[in-house]
């Protein structure tokens, strides 16, 4: 019997018909610690096996899109911070590059390099959280502390360059808000040297732990075509073996100048597209990010990073869809301008929302405890799901 498009391996735990009991409706969340925020999932369970899962979203809805219609172009940037509050730099970048392309604005070289450095640092910070909380979700407490120790170092770097630790408002139209202070470049390089051996530490303590593998491999398999059909993107899609990364396939900023690999899941521990693969893509991507940071800092040109920041942002009438690769996937800003000083419409295509939408497709047939592993491996941020 094949209930959905999931490989048979997930149905090993079929309950014999003679033992069937009544279906139970279970509400998981919104306060459940492993739902990564305020997500509620309505589960229908047959014993321990899930028959349907329905995410209920909207607990964190803050009207970003409506807000954006009532404030000036520049004032939207602090609001984009609050979409995906774990990777604010990447959100800033997507919106800002969209505006720059509408305005045909050339950006100073130094600013471009700084943007790439901070975005990749933020990607590492975000993936670290994904790793730590994922371990936490399925019962490994120690790695969580280790990744937060290292993330703290990144936040310190951010605090030095822009003064904020979480919501940066750093990347501006035409450049960045502050130039890098003296010695910042060396500090980032120092962090890169510090970080490389740490990845091995995470691998020792979590990634290749047999118990962890048993818990995650062959669980929550998202086949590539299901992922694509549901609009899954980012590491979650690459975990299913799809070789697609906007940084390489639709380059923005100066990503086309750097040499890095796009990591895809290979099913080393089980099936391609299982939760372990998605987890592993994130681990390996951090190493690639460090590579990009090194290259960007090597060629960091001298100059004034605020040189090309315009005094007034005048966006010509028109519309543009800008998509960038955030740690969660394809973040799209569909911007419509009527030539006035406020946006006419800013629609967000949020990767976390689309990634979450695949949950009802993969949940049927898994155990309740495995659902936690699946949600964790999708790495959603509710601020972005609900906007």
């Amino acid at each position: 019997m094949k209930k959905s498009n999931i490989p048979e391996s997930q149905f090993e735990l079929q309950v014999p018909d003679s033992l069937k009991t009544e279906e139970m409706t279970l509400s998981m969340g919104p306060q459940h610690p492993s739902t990564h925020g305020v997500l509620q999932v309505i589960l229908k369970t047959d014993g321990e096996i899930i028959t349907s899962a329905k995410p209920q979203i909207g607990y964190l809805h803050r009207c970003f899109e409506k807000h954006a219609e009532n404030i000036t172009w520049h004032q939207v940037i602090p609001f984009t911070d609050r979409l995906d509050y774990i990777a604010s730099m990447n959100n800033n970048l997507g919106y800002v590059i969209g505006l720059e392309r509408m305005m045909n604005l050339e950006v100073n070289e130094r600013a471009e390099h700084l943007r790439v450095v901070v975005s990749e640092l933020n990607r590492i910070a975000s993936h670290l959280i994904a790793l730590g909380t994922y371990g936490l979700d399925i019962g490994a407490y120690t790695p969580f502390l280790y990744v937060f120790r290292d993330r703290e170092k990144i936040l310190d770097l951010f605090e030095e360059i822009c003064g904020a630790r979480l919501l940066y408002n750093y990347i501006w139209v035409g450049g960045v808000a502050y130039d890098a202070p003296d010695g910042w470049r060396e500090k980032v390089l120092e962090f890169c040297d510090y970080f490389d051996p740490k990845v091995k530490e995470y691998n020792d303590i979590l990634t290749f732990n047999k118990i962890f593998i048993e818990r995650t491999a062959n669980v929550g398999v998202i086949p590539a075509e299901v992922g694509i059909n549901y609009g899954v993107s980012g590491p979650s899609l690459r975990g299913s073996g799809v070789d697609f990364d906007l940084r390489r396939d639709d380059p923005y900023s100066i990503y086309d100048r750097f040499d890095f690999n796009v990591i895809t899941g290979k099913g080393e521990m089980g099936t391609v597209g299982d939760t372990w693969d998605r987890y592993w893509v994130r681990v390996a991507e951090m190493v690639e990010s460090v590579k990009i940071i090194r290259q960007a800092l090597e060629n960091l040109p001298e100059g004034d990073a605020k040189e090309t920041v315009p005094r007034n942002i005048k966006v010509p009438a028109g519309e543009y869809y800008m998509r960038t690769e955030t740690p969660r996937g394809e973040l799209g800003f569909y911007i419509i301008s009527d030539g006035s000083k406020m946006p006419n419409r800013v629609k967000v295509r949020s990767p976390a929302f689309c990634n979450l939408s695949v949950l009802p497709a993969v949940a049927p047939g898994v155990m309740i405890a495995d659902l936690v592993a699946i949600i964790g491996s999708l790495d959603i941020v509710l601020g972005e799901v609900d906007r």
């Binding site: 602090p78 003064g163 290749f208």
Partner: protein, 192 residues
Amino acid sequence: MRQYFKNIYEAIATILVGMGVTWRHLFTRAVTIQYPHVKRTLPERSRMQLFVEMDDCIGCMACERACPVDCIEIKTVRGGKDEDLGQTSNGQKKRLHVVQFDIDMGKCCYCSDCVFPCPTGAIRMTPEYEFITYDRSTLLTKFATYSPEEISELEERERKEKEAQAAAKAAKLKAAEEAKKAAAGTDEPKSE
């Protein structure tokens, strides 16, 4: 059967590898600090509490307009004709009494958008972060130093000045009209 024991062996082995990492960590220095007793010095760019140097503020309201959440409220009264309000530290002449300058730190989102447009650098973010209170209303920070009496006095004066100005303007208009009429009056007999 072999697989079963192999699994057990692998689980124990990988746990020991992980334990090795934690064991090594026992001998490294702690990265945490005992917060209230030990405090980090924050970098100077830190965006924490806002501060306004009222002596430097010229009341241009650029910061109020820049704020995305409208948490700054400024009210100004024009200075008298021959009143000298002094200069800001970068040499701009002050022309307005800033009688009200409130920032609601409870609403503020610490984006520092207000800091950049300020022409005199009066408003800035400080690394001061310990301003928690028990009452939300105390987060409304008032920077203006004028007392209510002074404000009403200034407002009264401004009103009077405005009235005087309006009267002068009206008088001027009237005079102009009369002059016009007079001119028209002198014209009329000629055409007859």
